[in-house]
């Protein structure tokens, strides 16, 4: 069989291009930056061929080592995986471009070696990217544990890279929390393996029943993953870690890493634990609601921009968990809304942190009250922040609006007034803290200070991500058929032969 590159097997390239890139960048630090950027471009590019392949074959499984489900490990690609891979590629390529300028401080080292941060950022970031892609692709629960661990350690190392007391403290707490979460997840894996004799998600979905061991596994795995997703009671580690890391790293943490554990929880819920009528769905909904209110109020109280954005992440994660109680009767569209919120939050939050980085480079501080007339000294940065803010607030025409509209629709049709009220209040509170920042962008600071130089690539990458979050608002008719490939939200496990969504019929844009 001639090695045709379009065969699904080559999805593995998504994991090994960044991994090998990281190794090369580690081996030859002097040219680490160029190698890193090249690997980033290649990885982002290798997501594209998957799209037509997915459209042609529908959801596909790749048998690593040729051994097949019970014995070997399988990777699976369906609509949900594709969306997550595309999200990671988009945010990844933007942050990579941003990092090339952000991390090169003024006096580079005399002996020509790139600065310490610059040298280690690229290998760590590429390993993180490989771990993300591996996690999205894998459909074997123990393999997911190893990717979770790889992801956690890489994220901690990146957080600690900026070296300040805050960053190291945040990184330490993040490491402990991340390891604890992974162990909780592993305990769940152990229980499931010994109850049903297999590690593959597809087979487990057919064998899982409503026994006490499944509930214990559900409890352990959910607890572990909630710690890593920083849902309300377990969110204490997120703001210090995300705020003290350097700007491109906090963008990666808030936009991608937190979403990976949410994706995993969603995947487990859809395939294994969905129809267990445990009260967990309502519990997650309640915690999500509290997270929205508490996170937004905390964000409003912050005096520093990066802490404000970090608390905004805590609030927006609350929105994602509202989908659990609503989807019980709401059906696949509610899950579609949750995924849509994940995608638009990733783009918007990454844009926000990148703008925070530009403002930090511009004024050497990120105190909101002292943003000295940045609206016309850095128009593109504030424009990006506003576009991202529109999506975070859920105002039309952004992706956040689509997610919020569909969740509101489910809440109203199921008569859950409380959730609807929380969503609206969350939107208003988000508007309060976003416009608090934009308002101060117009006014002069108490003590005017002269400006640092902000390279244009930093501003334009942030604007591109912000515009992406807005364009998502119009992309639902394009993305929904893609998300439905392989029926990830259907009750059945993703079977390869699933009928392909009307995606093949071609998008109906501006039909005259």
């Amino acid at each position: 069989m001639i090695p045709n590159l379009a065969s699904p097997g080559w999805a593995v390239a998504l994991i090994f291009i960044p991994l090998l890139g990281a190794m090369l960048a580690f081996l030859l630090p002097r040219i680490g930056v160029t190698l890193g950027l090249l690997a980033a471009v290649l990885t982002a590019g290798s997501v594209l061929p998957l799209l037509p392949m997915l459209a042609a074959h529908g959801a596909t499984n790749i048998r690593i080592g040729g051994w097949g489900a019970p014995l070997g490990i399988e990777l699976s690609i369906d609509g949900l995986t594709m969306a997550m891979l595309a999200m990671t590629a988009l945010v990844g390529i933007a942050v990579s471009a941003y990092a090339t300028c952000y991390l090169r401080p003024v006096p580079s080292r005399p002996d020509g070696q790139p600065d310490l941060q610059q040298r280690h950022f690229w290998p760590l970031w590429l390993v993180l990217w490989a771990a993300l892609n591996a996690l999205f692709l894998s459909s074997d629960i123990f393999n997911l544990y190893v990717t979770l661990e790889l992801l956690g350690l890489a994220a901690v190392a990146l957080t600690a890279l900026s070296g300040g007391a805050d960053a190291l403290n945040g990184a330490m707490r993040y490491l402990l929390v991340s390891l604890l979460g992974s162990l909780g997840y592993l305990l769940g894996v152990a229980l499931l393996y010994h109850a049903y004799g297999t590690l593959d998600l597809g087979l487990l979905a057919l064998r899982v029943g409503d026994e006490t061991v499944t509930r214990a596994a559900l409890g352990a795995m959910t607890a572990g993953l909630l710690v890593k997703t920083a849902l309300f009671p377990l969110h204490f580690w997120l703001p210090p870690a995300h705020a003290s890391a350097s700007a491109p790293v906090s963008a990666l943490l808030s936009a991608l890493v937190v979403k990976a554990s949410f994706y995993l929880l969603l995947r487990l819920w859809l395939t294994l634990f969905g129809d267990l009528d445990s009260g967990l769905a309502t519990l997650l909904g309640v915690l999500g609601a509290i997270a929205i209110l508490w996170g937004s109020i905390q964000a409003l109280r912050q005096a520093r921009l990066k802490l404000l954005i970090a608390y905004s992440t805590v609030a927006q994660i609350g929105y994602l968990f509202l989908a659990f109680p609503l989807a019980a009767t709401g059906g696949a569209v509610v899950w579609g809304a949750a995924v849509y919120l994940v995608l638009s939050h990733a783009l918007a939050k990454a844009a926000m942190f990148l703008t925070a980085g530009s403002l930090l480079r511009f004024g050497a501080h990120d105190r909101i009250a002292d943003l000295d007339r940045v609206v016309h000294r850095l128009p593109i940065t504030i424009g990006a922040f506003t576009l991202a803010g529109v999506s975070i607030m859920g105002l039309p025409p952004s992706g956040g609006f689509i997610g919020k509209w569909l969740l509101l629709q489910a809440a109203f049709s199921q008569g859950r007034w409380g959730l609807a009220l929380v969503m609206l209040a969350g939107g208003l509170l988000a508007a309060a803290y976003v416009f608090k920042v934009i308002g101060y962008a117009f006014t002069p600071a108490v003590v005017p200070h002269q400006a640092g130089l902000v390279p244009p690539t930093m501003e334009w990458t942030a604007l591109a991500l912000g515009a992406g979050a807005i364009l998502l608002g119009f992309a639902w008719p394009l993305l929904w058929p893609l998300l439905e490939i392989g029926m990830p939200f259907g009750a059945l496990a993703p079977d390869p032969g699933a009928a392909v969504g009307p995606w093949l019929g071609g998008p109906r844009i501006l039909a005259p």
């Binding site: 609206v375 039309p396 639902w476």
Partner: protein, 499 residues
């Protein structure tokens, strides 16, 4: 077929595209900026007139874009939407000329004109929205586009005003969104249909329909500056004059009033709303707003704040006319949409002229200004007479139709409200005229700019004079075929009271 698709998009794009381009223009390229602005305005006016002729002959213009499962973004141009589109397009052309003159030396003009064009795009979008979802989308876009203009000066006061403005409008937007989604879950469609698409629900959902009406009307009422929700308008006067003129007197406030009209006629249907018993309270609130606005205007020494409170009361005429829901009252309400726009913009232009040329902001400083700037004050006087409701000027036509409509619908109290408010209008406009014309001018004006032979720059003088002439023309030739009154009667016949 595609002609009817591309025209609405052209109307939308003719201000969106120049707006986006202007954002990236350097500050000193004023030539290109003016060209872009005027080209956009003229193109939009031509497209609108083309559609005016088309709609008059019964052509249906519609553009549809898939947006959500089962919901599309729809731009549909009917007689009602055209009324508002013509108003905002015409006045946008005049205000652009005015703004170019007004902002001659001030900084950040690219940013200003960029957002200015986005505002008009949103206003035209609100007017042409074919269903409630598109309406909500452009309604929120209008908030986002006007905020930077309110905060344009960059002072702490401007920021505070901006925060108040946002608190109100975003709160309204959230309520409107909640009502819209709730309605969609009940009816399954949001398309504007002439006699409302809610009546088939009947008694079963009476409670929730009333709640939805309350949510959506309050959401829209914030921008229509109905009494409890009006306090953002006077504070938004901190914005530069062109912003106060076009946006806070015409575009934003009218979007709110237009929203009330859409809700009452195209969502709930006049009869069904009356049967729900919601039009009564709405009429009372409108009446209260009329009186309250006029009363507050009496005590404002700052000219623009007085005009702002006058706007609060005048816009409530539209809501009153529509809430009374008789055919004649509806015509009165609809036609006031145009009349109030034309008259109020004249007043704001004159206020801007006074501020820009002589540095006058307060009524007490306006002694003898008539001698110094006769043309401006003449336009101001015409506008003031219109507001009071003296016959030749447009205001009289509205009050006449509202009065007859109220009597026809048996709502006698409305006539007393109208009479009372006319008196109050006179009470706060005539002193201004008296001070301006019959008082000796002070030795020196606060800080006078010399604009050469004419009293002020031509770009500042031309617009108010033109709008003053328009106010009189609309009043005199009310019966002419394409006049606002005729068009309002056509709307009433076609859309609201089908035979």
């Amino acid at each position: 077929m595609n002609g009817t698709f591309w025209l609405p998009m052209l109307v939308l794009g003719s201000s969106l595209l120049p707006g986006l381009l202007i954002f990236f223009l350097a500050e000193d390229r004023s030539g290109i900026r003016t060209l872009l602005n005027l080209a956009g305005a003229v193109a939009k006016l031509l497209a609108v007139l083309w559609m005016l002729w088309g709609v008059y002959n019964g052509v249906a213009y519609e553009a549809r874009l898939p947006f959500l499962p089962g919901l599309d973004l729809v731009l549909r141009v009917g007689p009602l939407s055209l009324l508002f589109v013509v108003l905002s397009t015409g006045l946008w052309l005049l205000t652009t000329i005015y703004a170019i003159g007004y902002l001659e030396r001030s900084p950040h003009r690219s940013r200003f004109f960029g957002f200015f064009s986005l505002c008009v795009t949103a206003t035209v979008g609100v007017a042409m929205a074919g269903n409630l979802l598109t309406f909500v989308l452009f309604y929120e876009l209008l908030t986002l586009a006007t905020y930077p203009l309110v905060v344009h000066r960059g002072s702490e006061a401007a920021r505070q005003a901006g925060q108040v403005y946002l608190a109100h409008t975003l709160f309204g937007g959230a309520l409107l969104l909640a009502g819209t989604v709730w309605l969609y879950t009940l009816t399954g469609t949001l398309e504007f249909t002439p006699r409302g698409f809610v009546s088939h629900l009947g008694e079963t959902h009476r409670g929730s329909l009333i709640a939805i009406f309350a949510l959506t009307v309050v959401g829209v009422g914030v921008k229509a500056a109905l009494v409890p929700l009006h306090s953002w308008l006077p504070r938004a006067m901190v914005a530069p004059a062109p912003v106060s003129a076009l946006l806070h007197a015409v575009a934003v406030v009218k979007a709110g009033a237009f929203g009330v009209v859409r809700l009452l006629y195209d969502v709930f249907g006049a009869e069904f709303a009356a049967s729900l018993g919601v039009t009564g309270p709405l009429a009372v609130v409108a009446g209260a707003t009329i009186l309250y606005g006029s009363l507050r205007a009496l005590y404002q020494d700052d000219l623009k704040r007085r005009l702002a409170f006058s706007t609060v009361s005048q816009v409530a005429y539209i809501t009153l006319g529509v809430a009374i829901a008789g055919p004649l009252a509806t015509i009165g309400g609809l036609v006031h949409l145009v009349h109030q726009g034309v008259m109020k913009i004249t007043l704001f232009f004159c206020a801007g002229n006074l501020a820009e040329t002589l540095g006058i902001h307060k009524v007490s400083e306006m002694c003898g200004v008539g001698r110094r700037m006769p043309w401006t004050m003449a336009a101001f006087t015409v506008g003031a007479f219109g507001m009071i409701g003296l016959p030749p000027v447009a205001g009289f036509v509205t009050k006449w139709y509202l009065g007859i409509g109220a009597l026809e619908a048996g709502q006698d109290w409305a006539v007393y409200v109208l009479a009372g408010s006319s008196l109050l209008n006179a009470a706060y406009f005539l002193p201004i005229l008296h001070v301006a014309w019959f008082r000796p001018p002070p030795p020196a004006w606060p800080h006078e700019h010399d604009f050469g032979p004419r009293e002020t720059a031509w770009a500042l003088l031309l617009p108010p004079v033109v709008t003053a002439i328009l106010s009189v023309a609309v009043g005199l030739f009310a019966a002419a075929p394409f006049s606002p009154l005729e068009w309002a009667t056509l709307i009433a016949e076609r859309e609201f009271y089908l035979p």
